[in-house]
């Protein structure tokens, strides 16, 4: 079961790569082990943000689609 997030940011409507940059800025503020949930639009953002998260060395815990968008749960490493 995925841990409940320490912080959630809504990046729906925010284009690539701005959504990744804002995700990164939030992760930088967090301590290792903390969990960030980002909500992004389906399509390109839902593919690109998790890919950039992983490339930066953080852990993608869960990707879940809903009617409102795609929830990406990340552990700050």
């Amino acid at each position: 079961m995925t841990r409940s997030p320490d912080k959630t940011i809504d990046l729906r409507g925010t284009p690539c790569p701005l959504n990744w940059v804002r995700t990164k800025l939030r992760l930088e503020e967090m301590q290792p082990g903390m969990v960030l949930e980002v909500i992004v639009d389906a399509g390109g953002p839902a593919r690109n943000v998790p890919r950039s998260v992983a490339a930066e060395g953080h852990k993608v815990l869960q990707i879940e689609s809903s009617n409102e968008g795609v929830h990406v749960v990340i552990e700050r490493c």
Binding site: C16, L18, W20, V21, R22, K24, L25
Partner: protein
């Protein structure tokens, strides 16, 4: 001997921390922030961090901040943009007689092209009367633009009250907060501000970069066209290092604001009281209490401001007369005239604006040299030392 810098209302020295924050964006992170590759994204990171830092300073959301080239550009964007965006609703703009030229000249430009412009007077301390704003509002009013604090005499306007009046009538309220951002607390939403202009170099950041707060949901046509930068609200490749510098300056200002206010207010009072005590025939301009913490502005009877400036410069002090933008002119500034000062008296204006690095020793040294300069100039100046009543200077 290095010069004592008492002209912080004109510009502030760039803080070393700001320069350090900027350097990576000149050396390594030089990419175009619009590029989708990693080199571009590194530059974009700097811009977005700065956007969050500026937003935090104003109590705004990051998406409500766009970066511009200056406070002047922000002012122009608002006045021209609001005139176009709201043209279906009306063409009336309200402003005050003591605004910066960036607002006044733009309003005149628009008036020449058919806008109706009301210029509200101020009282002898430089205050705009909120009741006068209420009275001037009409069905065709689209925008009210009143500065937060005046750059010459330092008077702080009752901004929240004026903005509240505008909000109740669904009229856009803009403020030029170039002199106050980072120096006085600002909460844009609590104060009902729709649009706010700021400039980096007035808060220890670099020159050539400003910002504009645009309240969420508010439509304002772009001033510059050509690219999709700033989410389509301001075309032009961003001044990345400058923006990063502004962000760092905003972060530092937010952290240190209460300390800076206490520091400059104490020095300002020391300077004002010292000048009024030691030099007869000098009067404070602007409001005695509702004034910028760092602003000490005077009228000196029987001396002209330009001579005061040049003599103080020779003694090692950088000050200003009228305002920095008009000090090349012998005419008294529009601000001093709007306060009701007789022109001959307004010519003896002097603005001393302190900063975070100013010291009591510097103020005391100023107080040591100033009386003799005034005395010397009064003996040689063509400006009469008597004539106007003693209370004519605010």
């Amino acid at each position: 001997m290095s010069q004592v810098y008492f002209d912080h209302a004109a510009t502030t020295p760039t803080r070393p921390e700001v320069i350090e924050a900027m350097l990576p964006y000149l050396r390594e992170r030089w990419g175009n922030p619009s590029s989708l590759h990693a080199t571009g994204v590194k530059a974009l990171e700097g811009i977005e961090r700065a956007r969050e830092q500026v937003a935090a300073l104003l109590g705004a959301e990051p998406d409500e901040i766009i970066f511009t080239g200056s406070g002047t550009e922000s002012d122009n964007h608002v006045l021209v943009g609001a005139s176009i965006t709201r043209e279906a609703r009306g063409n009336h703009i309200i402003t005050s007689a003591i605004e910066h030229h960036a607002v006044i000249d733009t309003a005149e430009f628009l008036r020449d092209r058919g806008q109706r412009v009301t210029v509200l007077p101020v009282d002898s301390t430089g205050l705009v009367d909120p009741a006068a704003v209420r009275k001037a509002l009409a069905d065709d009013t689209i925008l009210v633009s009143i500065m937060h604090a005046n750059n010459e005499v330092g008077t702080i306007q009752p901004l929240a009250e004026i903005a509240g009046i505008c909000r109740a009538r669904d009229v856009l309220f803009h403020t030029d907060a170039v002199q106050t951002t980072g120096h006085l607390p600002i909460e844009v939403h609590a104060m009902n501000i729709d649009l706010l202009s700021l400039s980096a170099h007035k808060l220890y950041g670099p020159k050539g970069v400003g910002a504009l707060f645009i309240r969420k949901g508010l439509k304002l046509v772009p001033f510059l066209h050509g690219g999709g930068q700033e989410l389509g609200r301001r075309a032009s490749t961003e001044n990345v290092s400058g923006i990063v510098g502004l962000g760092e300056a905003a972060r530092l200002a937010r952290e240190e604001m209460s300390r800076e206010i206490a520091h400059t207010t104490a020095l300002r009072q020391r300077l004002i009281e010292g000048v009024l005590d030691r030099v007869p025939g000098v009067e404070l301009t602007g409001h005695p209490e509702l004034r910028l913490p760092n602003n000490a502005s005077f009228c000196v009877r029987g001396a002209d401001g330009e001579s005061l400036l040049l003599n103080l410069d020779q003694e090692g002090f950088a000050v200003s007369t009228g305002s920095a933008c008009t000090s090349g002119s012998l005419e008294p500034s529009h601000v001093l005239l709007a306060l009701g000062l007789p022109p001959d008296l307004a010519k003896g204006s002097l603005r001393v604006s302190l900063g975070r690095g100013s010291t009591p020793e510097e103020v005391d040294r100023f107080l040591d040299v100033f009386p003799a300069i005034v005395e010397r100039l009064r003996k040689t100046s063509p400006v009469p030392s008597t004539g106007a009543p003693a209370d004519a200077c605010g």
